[in-house]
Point group: C2
Chain length 271, copies 2
Amino acid sequence: MDMRPIGVFDSGLGGLTAVRALWDILPEENLIYFGDTARVPYGGRSKETLLKYARQDVRFLRSFDLKAILIACGTVTATSLSTLQAENDLPIVGVVEPTCRRALLVTKTKKVGIIATLASIRSGAYEATLKRLDSEVEVIGKPCPLFVPLVENGRFRRGDVVIETMAREYLEPLKAQGVDTLILGCTHYPLLTEVIADVMGPDVTLVSAGEESAFELKRLLKAEGLRADENRSGTSEFYVSDQTEDFERIASVFLQEDLRQAARRIDIEQY
Amino acid sequence: MDMRPIGVFDSGLGGLTAVRALWDILPEENLIYFGDTARVPYGGRSKETLLKYARQDVRFLRSFDLKAILIACGTVTATSLSTLQAENDLPIVGVVEPTCRRALLVTKTKKVGIIATLASIRSGAYEATLKRLDSEVEVIGKPCPLFVPLVENGRFRRGDVVIETMAREYLEPLKAQGVDTLILGCTHYPLLTEVIADVMGPDVTLVSAGEESAFELKRLLKAEGLRADENRSGTSEFYVSDQTEDFERIASVFLQEDLRQAARRIDIEQY
């Protein structure tokens, strides 16, 4: 048994959808979450800027004695995972590979769609991973640059003409090309599940990045003998790099339950 | 005569609307533009983070021998102008006061609306400046947090249901309250002039931040004997903090003419 916490980070608060999944799948583990809210969004930035930010995020988390890190950010995973793994002597799990494995399990037509930020799609990481795991798969990627700002501004509900219009614009080409599986390659997107499902229809299976990576982390902790005592309830601590006002309210949306816990603010550029 | 360049900066490329105004109003001046594209958008960040970013932006610009600085960013002006002026021994012009003076010249009903980012509205800077200049003015402020990401993603044209829906939501309460003048308090917003005018109607005068500050800078240079030779054509150099790909194409939109000049990339966190 290993009672050390797991570090989780994202560009902002979208990664809390992965915390939600960890609470369900690994309720006994202690979590330290960092959201880089002073520099969100990551999705349109260059590979070099993203690697720099990701290294700082990991250095901050490693100021705690961690047993593993979950990168709850599609953009960082897609652009920086292998470098971060090579530079750090603890297990680091990203969202790309677990999500691709799941998508290949559920697709029947071997036509898989992937929606993510511009940086993630440009990196080609999801497509390369899917093709490495199954050379016959056909992959159709689509960047959705406005989904993160829209979700962060609360525009994610069914019946909102703005999000529904953007969803139709982004997704109808994927639907027209006949994908039967759609990877939500950004941890902000689970909040859009209903809106996305309305456009894609009942025959397309949605695969969510945060949830699959939580299952992957569970397998990894088990394999390496790193799990906490299963009879306990884990605790979570939250850190952000910008103002902590409104954190509880916004975090509650991503966590899908009332959070009564404040976040602490840190200066990420010190790391 | 003083041939040293003028420094101009913004969170991203929206400040290029002020460069457009400077080209028209002060065509003989040399300009050095910096857009902090690695950390855009500024509008939702805290006052402390904004001051830190603004100080770095000024330090980078002052690595050139400048005669003046124009802060082509409503958010930085609203939160950090007086501190930057106190810390620097050269003239620094912001967008708030010139815009407020203009609004007070054109309003007849003394009911003035102001739209800007969340940080600008929260700062209260526009409202405080308007009331200092005319204690009888009634000010109605409205944050429009999605306007910057929408403009940056090319969603600013008449007939676009997404921007038109957001414009109606943000602006109809201002219209209902009977403002006769509307300050566009963010340098991204001039691209939305048609969309905003369609909602506000012909009886509301729009006052644009970038243009008024260019006039203010002209007056200041003249008063202090700092103007360049009026018989020459000035040059402009462009610097950004993230990737320079697509710069010419996106800059051309804000500058309203074809730009055939690349931007150079710098690491703003070194400053």
